[in-house]
Assembly symmetry: C2
Homo-oligomer: 329 residues x 2
Amino acid sequence: MESPQEYAIGIDIGGTTTKFGIVNHRGDISNVGDLDTNKHTDVNLFVDELYREMKPAINAVGGIDSIKGIGLGAPNGNYYSGTIDYAPNLQWRGVIPIAKLITNKFNKPCTLTNDANAAAIGELMYGAARGMRDFIMITLGTGVGSGIVANGQLIYGHDGFAGELGHTIIRPGGRLHWGTGMKGSLETYASATGISITAKEILDERVNEKSLLRDIRHEKITSKNVCEAALKGDAIANEVFQFTGQILGEALANFVMFSSPEAIILFGGVIKAGKLLLDPTRASMEKNLLPIFQNKVKLLFSELKESDAAILGASALVWEIKPEALNAK
Amino acid sequence: MESPQEYAIGIDIGGTTTKFGIVNHRGDISNVGDLDTNKHTDVNLFVDELYREMKPAINAVGGIDSIKGIGLGAPNGNYYSGTIDYAPNLQWRGVIPIAKLITNKFNKPCTLTNDANAAAIGELMYGAARGMRDFIMITLGTGVGSGIVANGQLIYGHDGFAGELGHTIIRPGGRLHWGTGMKGSLETYASATGISITAKEILDERVNEKSLLRDIRHEKITSKNVCEAALKGDAIANEVFQFTGQILGEALANFVMFSSPEAIILFGGVIKAGKLLLDPTRASMEKNLLPIFQNKVKLLFSELKESDAAILGASALVWEIKPEALNAK
């Protein structure tokens, strides 16, 4: 007798750590674990080790026959091809056929997507976007990622690369991006990296103005420091969030006029700033919307625990395997 | 015995003229006609006259039993509600339940969408986007409209207002929009209106530089004049298209990083400028894309005759009545 395939494996490959867990239909995660993403320069050895590490977890839920499939989120993960393409933050170079390698090793179907899309799916199935057909997920971490759901489906685009909203230009000729060489992209302002740059710029401009941030060595200032200083009433730190919110709000208004979502959900380390970020962002977004869009779009924080979201989102790919978009290819 | 419902009615309500035609499955238009949109301030009288005007056309294809339904494109037409909402260029004020009025009068189901979405559907079924699942249609006329297709479906958003790309801000703090009061929206630069403003600005800046455009009374200069002058080698007129293409290309690059379309299709009066517009637009778009998107997106002109496109696109709504998005509401 076959066991019912009650579980999905969710795997999140991050720049430093790869996390995994076993997830049931209700979104309960069990048997979590992790391994060092960078331990093996050969991706085949990485997959071998992942399999060994996961074996006890799989056995704990009744063995591989209890597993329906494997969902995988990874930076630059391409849903259509199942490959990780030229990920700048991973040591595996070029095009890595990760979904195929995992499928072969585990003998279970593996579906890949990028990390921001995985978070969007997680939010759709278990988080703040439950029941929504149209929303945009913006991840504000070291970089700015995005996952777009319209008509109840993730938008992958013709090549699987849709949703690079962090790289849209919001200030033509503006701040130089450290990695892409583009000027004025959203990521250069609204990421944790961007927030620390803004803080340093303002500190440099106003050498005579006091700030708690001057107690920290200039090159060490992080967005977390800025947040802590702002919560203590530091004027410059508060201005950093005003500026960040203004630019983020302008970008969100443009996104709303593209896909008219019911909600925009913010996710990632930067949202720990809470109202410091949310209030100026909302004000700026509303100001830059046509009247037909005003006071309609919910601006929300993610409801998922950040450490769980990626595993949950990746595992959710298993339950929705073969969406309409994939069948057509 | 019932007649087979072989035909659809396509109606395009424009600011000045309402056009209609009868369309078969292959996209052949017959029995076209038109009437003055502004003849009746009472929309009920307009619908009555539309019905009288269309009667001979309907009889010519075998009567109303040969008609499957009616597709309607109109400015500010909302797909979900079937209403025209606060259209600034129509004399009917407020919210007009046009789809219901037409359904009742003709006793056939009527589906409404906005004019740019109708053009996108027309292009998808009969034009340059045949076989594509992901493309963006940009209409460059008096204003800038857009229709977005992703995963093979039009993106309507949660409220039916998705795709207002002409109002996205591409130059923060830039040119004031004559209607919306917003600054730096795409429409202020890339519409026919925007092109004539750019021409006047450059002429005013360089009072000593000769130009064929100086033969035309300043306030009368149109984008058509600019195009004609550019084709004759006029330096200022050419510069107008360089500038327009640069801004349009930047905007298109942002749109590509949103939905990663296979193609962007340009439509409307402004595309008569041909290579004058296309070359600088393409160069600017490519320059502003991340490498993973470069040299992949087709930038095309519409294949539909402009006078037919709206009727065709509207009629196509009939064949695809009740898409998945509508069922869910």
